[in-house]
């Protein structure tokens, strides 16, 4: 490992002066070794396994795949996932922008603490997120009696799934927006203000257009995470088939019921959505890079 990495560092140096053929050859060999090890590792860990589920899904033809997709529980799981994303992602987008503005532009006591709270979902296990939500909103939780009196059921029902999803995908929009906001600076905003624009006008016409690609990038990450969340949702949803079973929970259910085609098909649907996310991320970074290059 270290010898291959070491040999590769020679290349830039040897290109500077007239290289002896022997050292150039050893540099090239080193570079090739490094490439082989890195790509081999990626192939074994990432690429082949992902390619494999596509093969496994379609190995018996299209008919069983179609049956799996149209199964009622698969359909309801898919639409529940979409519904949860449609609620949690806009919430986290609006509040994420608010948090980013507060952390980057605001000056108040406890700002460091706010930054810590935002990042907390990254440090907490999804299972622990689920558990702590149950401890507050579950039947025996802090607000359990009060919620029952009001006729609300949060845990083991859709609101709980939305809550859990919102928690685990909370940091993305804020974290992606903050650096863009910092780079944008306050000059244009101050100019708008001096020219008589109201705070809202400044926000809609100056700040938001300036940060929009950061926000969009954050939204893409939020959506991917929200769609795929498993651990937290597994605990708060109760996993009731056809009712509180999201698509990732459905994958587990099918797998444990030895319906491998069903599991693979649902997994492939989620994997395709993940690949679409990657594509979106790449297009967005390319756009940002072009903008900063100009």
């Amino acid at each position: 490992m270290s010898s291959s990495g070491g040999a590769v560092t020679l290349t830039p140096a040897s290109s500077g002066r007239a290289p002896s053929t022997a050292s150039a050859r050893s540099a090239r060999a080193g570079k090739l070794t490094a490439r082989t090890i890195a790509l081999g590792y990626l192939a074994l860990l990432l690429l082949t396994p992902v390619a494999m589920i596509f093969y496994r899904t379609f190995e018996h033809g299209l008919a069983p795949v179609w049956d799996s997709i149209t199964a009622p529980n698969a359909q309801s799981a898919f639409w529940l996932s979409i519904e949860v994303v449609a609620i949690a992602v806009p919430l986290n987008t609006v509040f994420g922008i608010g948090i980013a503005l507060l952390l980057e532009r605001g000056r108040f006591w406890g700002k460091g603490l706010l930054g810590l709270v935002i990042d907390l979902p990254f440090a907490i296990s999804p299972v622990v997120v689920g558990l702590s939500l149950v401890l507050v909103y579950g039947k025996t939780g802090w607000f359990g009696d009060w919620l029952t009196e009001q006729g609300f059921q949060i845990i083991f029902s859709v609101p709980g799934i939305v809550l859990a999803t919102a928690v685990v995908s909370l940091p993305f929009v804020a974290r992606e927006t903050i650096p863009v906001l910092r780079e944008l600076g306050t000059d244009a905003e101050q100019a708008a203000e001096t020219l008589g624009a109201s705070g809202w006008q400044t926000f809609w016409r100056i700040t938001l257009p300036g940060i929009r690609w950061g926000v969009v990038y954050g939204v893409v990450l939020t959506t991917a995470r929200a769609l795929g969340e498993f651990g937290a949702v597994s605990i708060v949803s109760g996993r009731i088939e056809g009712q509180t079973q999201t698509l990732p929970l459905y994958v587990q259910d099918r797998f444990e019921n030895f319906d491998s085609t069903g599991a693979y098909t649902a997994a492939v649907v989620l994997a395709l959505l993940a690949l679409a996310t990657l594509l979106a991320m790449n297009l967005l970074t390319r756009r940002t890079r072009r903008r900063t290059a100009v």
């Binding site: 990495g5 020679l10 140096a13 890195a38 608010g98 401890l135 306050t186 705070g199």
Partner: protein, 283 residues
């Protein structure tokens, strides 16, 4: 929504707009209030409830919960597997970043884009994906399902991007001239790597390692299917917590949760301190 304008800017506002500005400050306060409620509902109250539940049986109860044989085995496995996984990530993550920045080969852009796949892929799908190749009926004849190797494999899969993505930008910024100077002064390639490249990358490697650590300690979804969750054998901390919740033993679940969370936070803080000291040293 909070007012996007800094307080210094509102001080510049013309006097006739003062009434308007006051209204905006009200709106800003309203926005801050709503944000406070949102964060309380999602994070603050749940974490407080977790701490309270972990403490319901007192210090001795907390200790009993985390030192029961099954909990102890699960915590030990989590920490050992995580330590191995972050070490592998530090080496292979740096190597992959190196190849992606300094090497040229056909298909590099695609490989580069696919590095993020474990972030985009739902964790349960990660488990299924690994089982498809390394599970029962493996086409290459390797079946690691329900073993401790599977724990490491799943953790390596989900934490793959962290070190690569934190090292890559630093490597891009690093200019060749120092390395060139060193090797034209007669430094061997090993010396250049040890004395110039690695010290510059160390803070980035450490921050990638810290993120991998936090992720691996709490990982759940990718492990559920492939490890079989066998107590004393392949059961990690998060799976143990899940089991305790299912058994309605919430205080024990909360105690182990608090312990794992504390470990993650302490390691994150320690590594960030270490990385800051290192980068100061390099400068």
């Amino acid at each position: 929504m909070a007012s996007p304008l800094p307080s210094s800017a509102s001080a510049l506002a013309l006097p006739r707009r003062r009434a308007f500005a006051l209204g905006e400050r009200g709106a800003g306060a309203l926005g801050k209030g709503m944000l406070g409620i949102y964060l309380s509902v999602l994070v603050l109250l749940p974490v407080a409830a977790l701490l309270e539940k972990a403490g319901t049986r007192g210090t001795s109860g907390f200790w009993r919960a985390i030192s029961s044989p099954e909990a102890g085995a699960a915590i030990k496995l989590t920490l050992i597997a995580t330590a191995i996984v972050v070490a592998v990530n530090a080496v292979f993550g740096t190597l992959i970043a190196w190849v992606l920045v300094r090497d040229e080969f056909p298909g590099k852009a695609i490989v580069n884009a696919l590095i993020d796949l474990p972030f985009a892929l739902p964790t349960i799908v990660a488990g299924v994906v690994l089982l498809a190749l390394y599970g029962k009926g493996s086409p290459i004849g390797i079946n690691v399902a329900f073993t401790r190797v599977a724990v490491g494999l799943a953790l390596l899969f989900v934490t793959l991007p962290f070190v690569v993505r934190s090292v890559q930008p630093v490597l891009l910024e690093l200019d060749y001239s120092m390395e060139e100077a060193a090797s034209s002064l007669g430094a061997s390639s090993g010396t250049v790597l040890r004395r110039i490249v690695l010290p510059s990358l160390a803070p980035a490697i450490i921050s990638g390692v810290a993120l991998s650590f936090a992720r691996a300690v709490g990982e759940f979804g990718s492990l559920v299917l492939i490890t079989g969750n066998l107590p004393f054998k392949t059961e990690v901390g998060s799976v143990y917590i899940f089991g305790q919740i299912e058994n309605d033993n919430l205080p024990a679940a909360a105690a182990v949760s608090v312990l794992l969370l504390a470990v993650a936070l302490v390691v994150l803080a320690a590594l960030s301190l270490f990385s800051r000291r290192l980068s100061r040293h390099v400068q």
